[in-house]
Amino acid sequence: MEYTFIIVLLPFLSFLFLGLAGKKLAPRVAGYVGTAVLAISAALSYLAAWQYFTTAKVGGVFKPWSMDFRWLNFTKDLHIDLGMLIDPIAVMMLVVITTVSLMVHLYSIGYMHGERGFQRYYAFLSLFTFSMLGLVVATNIFQMYIFWELVGVSSYLLIGFYYTKPEAVAASKKAFIVTRFADLGFLVGILLLSFYTGTFSFERLTSGDASLFNEAGGVTFMGCSVIGWALALIFIGGAGKSAMFPLHVWLPDAMEGPTPVSALIHAATMVVAGVYLVARLFPVYYLEAPDVLVLIAIVGAVTSLYAAVVACVQTDIKRVLAFSTISQIGFMMVGLGVSGLEGHEGLGYMASMFHLFTHAMFKALLFLGAGAIIHAVHSNEMGHMGGLRKYLPVTRFTFLIACLAIAGIPPFSGFFSKDEILAATFHFSPLLGAVMSFTAGLTAFYMFRLYYRIFWNKETRHDHAPHEAPRSMTIPLVFLAFVTLVAGPIPFGKFVTSDRAEYLIHLDWTVAGASVAIALVAIALATLLYRKESAIPDRLATSFKGLYTAAYKRFYLDELYLFVTKKIIFNGISRPIAWFDRHVVDGTMNGFATLSQRVSCAIRGFQSGQVQQYVMVILLGTLFITVLVLFI
């Protein structure tokens, strides 16, 4: 399996090449180079997947394959290795990433055509792909952290691609800092975990060897075990990347980046890194800190519901998709949170991974479709769209497929994965299941609201007729739509499960039927409200003004963040500190100087120029010293 190394390395070489030589290349060539390299990577990934899933099974369990080389030594036990860990989820992620990335690369040739910094764009895309691939094949948690940071930076660079646009710059900054803040949790979590277990290695951590955690046994902090804390902190890192409530604020803003970037990073790959992280460490979570898993489930559910509600009222199509992404990642988190480890208990895990897979495809499809629409109308606002079905037929159909998939309508892929999550959730807690079902309904509603507002509804005037995107953009759409269509029945449990053993999927029809029913009702409602131009939505908005505005404003979370950063950190901490530094600390230092000068001026009269005074001082000095020595 050594060649898998090349999968990761190729994008990096491409990045170096494009980054250093890009300026001298024609833009088109740069695009081709990037795409070609990705194509090789993708091909190798498929090869690897095929080879792995066909050969790696030993005794009914997929055996991971790994290679390592030492990168940095910390202590006797702790060292960072860089390497490749090939196991089912890694292979799955390789496939997802290379596929979506390839599609995005291809799509971007058309979408980014004529943009300034085209070469740079491709360099960054390659960098991102490299980082993401490195992340998923990480053999140890520190390697993951390394690539974790790298994807963060590539995301930053890509969100800020239009660096002359202040909004883009602000969004990129926000994205980076919020995730960085979460990464702090991740880092501390790593430090804690590694300190007590003495290893970073995933293989050792997830081996189920309880002796690793012996040292931490009994160490508690604020009533929870220290490993629990470590895992919770690590989850914070994942929550940041995966835009879990309340760390999701960066994701909607990140839509300022080019749309294909949103498709790649902020829909399909990077944002699921958190899910992947939890999945990677799942055995540890399950065995050492089940409480944290419950926490994860709750956070996932809250996020999911929250995002779905907000998505219902957004008017920027990319924002809607962004909230939809947040919501769907919430589903995945819930799936993991409710899952058990072995056998049928592991349904949630399997479902979550499956959903990750299908979601990557259809969400990328949605974003790329949105890109095609934006490409056509040069706007993100729903208000500027409507009635586009005539102009963009390919986009429309692929978009519809994706909408159906995400709404959970069989036989589209989303139905299968989501349904399993719901089943697992109901199995875990009916209440949570109900919430998630409701959220699924909301999902169907806002997706079709989106669909209708774009392609149906009232047609807006355009300066020039919108036209279908070029071939390079539509091919990816079609390809992804195809995957979305066919991915559903994939026997996913054969490949990716919590215990790496085979899992036989059987649909729970009560749950499935109910959810499909809910979805259909929601779609019907959306059709009613938005298919034609109608006053009902506005009326609803005015009658539930408070709720509507709050949801539109995303429940004021951004304002809260702004308040915390601007008012508290910037004005409340930094300014006083800077003032303190200049006036108190530095003032003290200057004070010494001033004091010396003052004293110097104050005593000048002492040197009066009168010789008699001098003599007097000599005499008194002598007497003083005498008295001092003799009597004191």
């Binding site: 010396s596 000599i618 008194l620 002598t622």
Partner: protein
Amino acid sequence: MDYSSFIYLKEELSLIAVIVILLLYDIFGSKKSLTYFQPVACLLLVGHILLTCCPAPAVLAIFGDTPAVDQASAGVYPLFSGMYNLYPLGSIVKSILAVGTLLVLLQARGWLESENTVIRRGEFYVITLFTLLGMYFMIAAGNFLLFYIGLELASIPMATLIAFDKFRHKSAEAGAKYILTAVFASGLSLYGISLVYGTTGTLYFADIPAGVTGSPLQIMAFIFFFVGLAFKLSLVPFHQWTPDVYEGAPTPVTAYLSVISKGAAAFVLMAILCKVFGNLIEQWQAILFWVTIATITLANLFALRQQNLKRFFAYSSISQAGYIMLGVISGSALGVTSLIYYVLVYMFSNLAAFGVISIIERRSGKVTIDDYNGLYSTNPRLSVVMMIALFSLAGIPPFAGFFSKFFVFAAAVAEEYYWLVFIALLNTVISLYYYLRVVKAMFINKNETAIAGFRSDAYTRLSLVICCAGILLLGILSVVYGSIHHYSLGW
């Protein structure tokens, strides 16, 4: 009557010979021949220095007659039955002083050749050398009488040097201030000596320690005596004459006062404290502790504000004296080595600075720090010399001042004077500030009307080159310190 002892007074006798020759030359030389007065004087002094530098035993060996070495303190040859002590460290200090005097004389040439002073040129040389001779006797004295006469020989003619520019009121005023305070201080000192005599019954250094019992009167006597030397060293609170006199005196005389006179006094003070009042070590260490702190701190505080460079250097030299006291207070061999070394380095540094001040004052009449603004743009070499000197005074490596400061601190720390060294060290920061003020004026400040560029005379240049060489090499060549240390081992 055994007059053979005289032959061992090679330093003093050769200096007297130089003085006499110069005196006669000045009186009887024709006007034309007097134009060579300067070179002749300097050459004679060089000869004298060479003779001084020859190790005493080597010279003594010529006469084949080595006097008995005092066993109690190795290396000391008492002459005139103890009236006069011949010892290597003394000779080293004498030769250092002589070199310093030579440098001063080199720097003084330009000034002496000016119209007003040329007729008093001969006197300047003779009197300067007389004061030097006085210091020699101070250093070599083995008896308070000889010490006292030496002290007066070093200070009374000095007053005439200070008042040398007699038509300039400031010079005259400085002279008067100096002689009045000097006489007063020597009066106190004399009173102290009288009480020392009264309580010990002898004036011979060698015999006094036996009589020093530490009675209160004796301590008072000691303190009164101490005032005389503290005055010469300008330790606080006996320092107030210094700035006024330094400012008023002709610059070469200021240089001479600040270096030669001070260096001699420092060494003599240490010698007498250790050799004569060794029994009072607790008392004089306590005194020096506070006096040193006061000296360094107060002088630094005063120096902060000075504009006139000569006054500035007066305060600087007061604080330097404080640092010298760190060597004295230790009372150890390390201390005396450091002290001599410090004096040597200080001499080169201060004379370099005064050389620059002197030549600039002569060429432009300017002596304030502000006048030096932009000096580097017009007189780069002088500025660099000045900067090196200032850095050396501030104790910045690789200049010798760093080493000398380090050694005096080491000497004091060796005797566990941590707080004293701590305060002294903090004061180095203040002193660095004011030294940098001058550097700043020369290098950083801009000035449209900077002192015009000029070429200094060969004598000044020679002296500055010697000084700079000294500053640069003394630290790096450890042999100087090593040899001083070699002779101080018997301390």
